[in-house]
Subunit: 336 residues, 4 copies
């Protein structure tokens, strides 16, 4: 069966996924695209031979769509997800699940009520071969008990629309999820350290870089350097310190080049480039689950909810510089 996909939201990430469906993904076709900007929807629909919609719910309930792929802005997510649930159609939703943890509650309630997972959340890093190798090394016990993790999250630059809060909600959010994935436990405290120095490449409203310090339930300490105007590339680092050994992501480079610039390994320039394989795999994973009639798996609504709770604590610390605890309700059995 070829899965008929309806994509909502035709911004940068939406278009990136469309290209992915067109060139890489097997077993699916773009049957519908939806955007509130009619011209955008029409143009993209024409390009991909899909039906154009301007209203998300209309598309969700349409027969031309088997599965819903949400790439719209965060505030639109909750309603679109719940509509898809109601229509009985599997959902892939780009992060964040919802802008606040509170709004995610309704989604979790709906899934719990349905008694099965209906949604896969777009935490693509869990599909990255590098992080998977790290997780495997941890799980195999090679490193022994983990005590510290050093992370860095660097973007070449960010647009003017990027706010200080987004450093937590859009950038650190990835490390928050991946730490939970690597360690199989939750984060219990967050503290944001604001260095006195900031790069002159950052716009005046931004402090850049930031250092965020997390502690997990068992006491693992993680520091996360967020540096979103680092100038040189999109650069994601992760080093896990255990009692026996230390493992870290390599450069993930395929070739070395010896030239007048020395012996060099390419550094990726965007998350799309760095996580291309991860994006491909998360989408194929979704399509394969839909095609086989299986429940959704991979990153869940619950993951989205818990990450939002940690972000909330981070935002609070951003204001007062104190360490904030993260209070996580009991995890429903569905997500265990």
């Amino acid at each position: 069966m070829t899965v008929k996909i309806g994509v909502i939201g035709l911004g940068m990430i939406g278009r990136d996924h469309l290209k992915r469906f067109h060139t890489v993904i097997s077993g699916a076709q773009i049957s519908a695209v939806c955007d509130i900007h009619h011209a955008a929807a029409d143009a993209v629909a024409k390009e991909y031979g899909a039906t154009a919609f301007y209203d998300a719910e209309e598309m969700i309930y349409s027969d031309v769509v088997d599965a819903v792929f949400i790439c719209s802005i965060g505030p639109a997510h909750q309603a679109q997800i719940l509509a898809a649930f109601k229509a009985g159609k599997p959902v892939f939703c780009e992060k964040p699940l919802t802008p606040t943890a509170e709004e995610s509650q309704a989604i979790i309630n709906a899934e719990v009520k349905a008694g099965k997972r209906l949604l896969q959340l777009g935490f693509m890093r869990r599909f990255d071969p590098g992080y998977q190798a790290l997780k495997q090394a941890i799980a195999a016990g090679e490193l022994g008990d983990i005590m510290l993790i050093h992370c860095a999250h660097r973007n070449p630059s960010v647009p003017e629309s990027y706010t200080l809060e987004m450093a937590i909600n859009d950038s650190a959010t990835h490390e928050i999820d991946i730490i939970r994935y690597l360690l199989n436990e939750n984060i219990s405290t967050v503290r944001v350290d604001i260095p006195r120095k900031k790069t002159r490449r950052a716009l005046p409203h931004l402090q850049d870089p930031l250092m965020v310090i997390f502690e997990t339930e068992s006491g693992v300490r993680i520091d996360d350097e967020l540096f979103v105007n680092c100038h040189y590339g999109y650069d994601i680092r992760c080093e896990v310190i255990g009692e026996n050994a230390i493992a870290a992501l390599t450069e993930q480079a395929l070739i070395n080049t010896r030239s007048v610039h020395g012996n060099a390994q390419h550094i990726t320039q965007s998350c799309m480039e760095r996580f291309a394989t991860a994006y491909d795999r998360e989408v194929q994973h979704f399509v394969d689950n839909v095609a086989a009639g299986r429940d959704m798996s991979g990153p869940s609504s619950w993951d989205g909810y818990v990450v939002a709770l940690v972000c909330d604590a981070g935002l609070a610390s951003l204001k007062d510089g104190e360490t904030h605890a993260v209070v996580i309700p009991e995890q429903p059995a569905l997500y265990r």
Copy 2:
């Protein structure tokens, strides 16, 4: 459409592909398996819910099969391929296309007569991200004109059945194909240098290592170290020397581990591990072409034929130590 795949030959590579179809490949299902060993065919058929065949032609002509996946021994290839062509079914064939260049001629004739490509050959390295990045760097002109390539092809060990000729036909064959892929030109001469030293890990009938020297039509000199009892891993190296810069495959490692063994990057232990992504991609490529009703693409019968011609020259040099020329007939338009 889900492509119904019939696999012929259930040895190591056949079983590896079966697992791949089961866990990674989208849009296909194993509908039939065939092996002259009835018990093997029956057991595997049961495991994958497929129909067992003991006769290849019977399977090829059967309705339960849309596409033929040949993993049998080399001498069986020609007849099976021609049968599949006759049955109008697309073929994936593991290398070598045929044991000798001469036998490949009938396959090429059949394809040329059909006026379209009917077969994808299993030169999986062309789907390896590392080699693709090398090719891209060459094609982009970053390195300037290419003059030399240094290759190494190392296996941890080989079974007793491995003969000196297989160093050319089974091992060097991969470098022969990939050089053509990287440089877009043919190899014109081959010389095998037999070092006086051999590893004591090699069985008495084997000289190991060997050095094979190729020259391409334009004059690029390639040396290929073939060392099939290197003990430590399956290790494939390639360094391309150009007028402006040099590019080489990196370790292709995902993580660094700091332990009592130093700072280490894992080295793969088999071709299945080293080229896992390449194998996945070549098979998905085949399935996608079949599902879409497209002609075959990727490594062709012609590639298999030309590589066999180069191997023949290599075998001649293995005997007399001289430089042997490779005479390649005119390339049919179909393969350009």
Copy 3:
């Protein structure tokens, strides 16, 4: 002129320096050795053909000694240094200058009164080619303005005598000095973060690892992971984050080895091994200055004093977890 060296203190570092004088250093000879343990002094004196002393002052004033090399325990330093100053003999002193910043004051006063530098302090890292390359990259402006530094200081293990305070006074002390060296500015605040997790390889009285956070006068934030039972090696890391680029120490490995343990680079097992070149160079630097009749240069009493002030703030933070300011008196012109 061959400089006649008198070494005080024949413990581990003292004996390491003796071997260095014997095998690597040019223009000097060990003419005297001194230890309160008579048997140790006698044995070493015999081995090196030197005169044995049991009393430091006696050796310092003896004619057989041109220059004084202090490797005794910290509490003995002040008296020995001042005696050497009085005797008009140049001093090399292993760190710490004195156990407390207060005791260092008398040494600084003496030098300032003399109007010239009389002592070189054993901060050997300033002579490490790796750190020198880092400093050069910073000074050359390649990195732009510096904002963050990530350090790690890892020992394979520590003896039972190692206390939590020593994590600051003996381990972090090196990063404290090298940060001042790299950045040409002082540290203004210190905070010790005590992770909840500790390695089970640490003895019960030790929290290990620790994270120490420094801020410099201009606002550069430095984190220093102190992990003194890391098990796998003596491993020193330093990554400097600037507005334009990032520079970090490499593995400093001379060879890669491909074996059943993967592709590996050796990690040093002790400070003597890691900083062998640095130790050689600092001592040769001292000897060359003495031989040429020049004033002392390189790490100074003032450096030792300021580092001690930072350590004092670190010890205070170790107790209360708060950020502590470092108050540094005006720097005498002699040390500018």
Copy 4:
């Protein structure tokens, strides 16, 4: 004792050594400089406070000189060395010992007659920490029996005066010596493979790159890529393939820099930069031997002679493309 050094020949390498004596070497002073160009000798003598000579023998016999440091052109070496021997003064001589193997015979005869080593030859690579680590790994048996070595010798560019013969006599000469050093055995055959391609950066009279194939007495096969207009740097590679493991020189880089050019390690731009430590150490080794009144040690006249024999075979192969044997007379006991 401070050794009074007289330097003959004030070209590039001579001036580099002068600077070395001035800034790095302990226990020596430049007391005399000699050049047939009076103005050069006068200027350099003034700069270093040394006595100027225009005639080498005059300087050699002068009382202001304890030891003779020969940096003149090759054809002048024999006479200068023999004069120094006659004057009873230790000699450091830059490579080549003499332009032909034949001329070296007289030097060897003189040393053998004297019954002690009187000369250290400037094969500085033996003092390179990287090569020393390689040798140590081989000697320790980590790699098992050695079968192959892959070398590359790359210069950014060469002047018009550089001839094809110099690729053997000036460039390959270093690999020839270092192979003997690493393996403790001699080279028995040489073959030069001339690739059809040459870089357009090479001047018309030069084939560049070349591949030289050596075989040692025990049968180790070495290939040496000589590429003297590689454009990007002075780049020396060496990979040693053994039965158990493989060891290779690393980048020898002290820092990694992450910038818009990717993650890069600096590649040196000249032999002076690449082998700075090796040059420092070989000269200090010479000075220390002289100061201590010891016989000369390190690379010997015999090494120079044998390397010249191998070069002769290489030059013969350059002409006819054949494999040439190297016939080495019995080694005098003095050099064992």
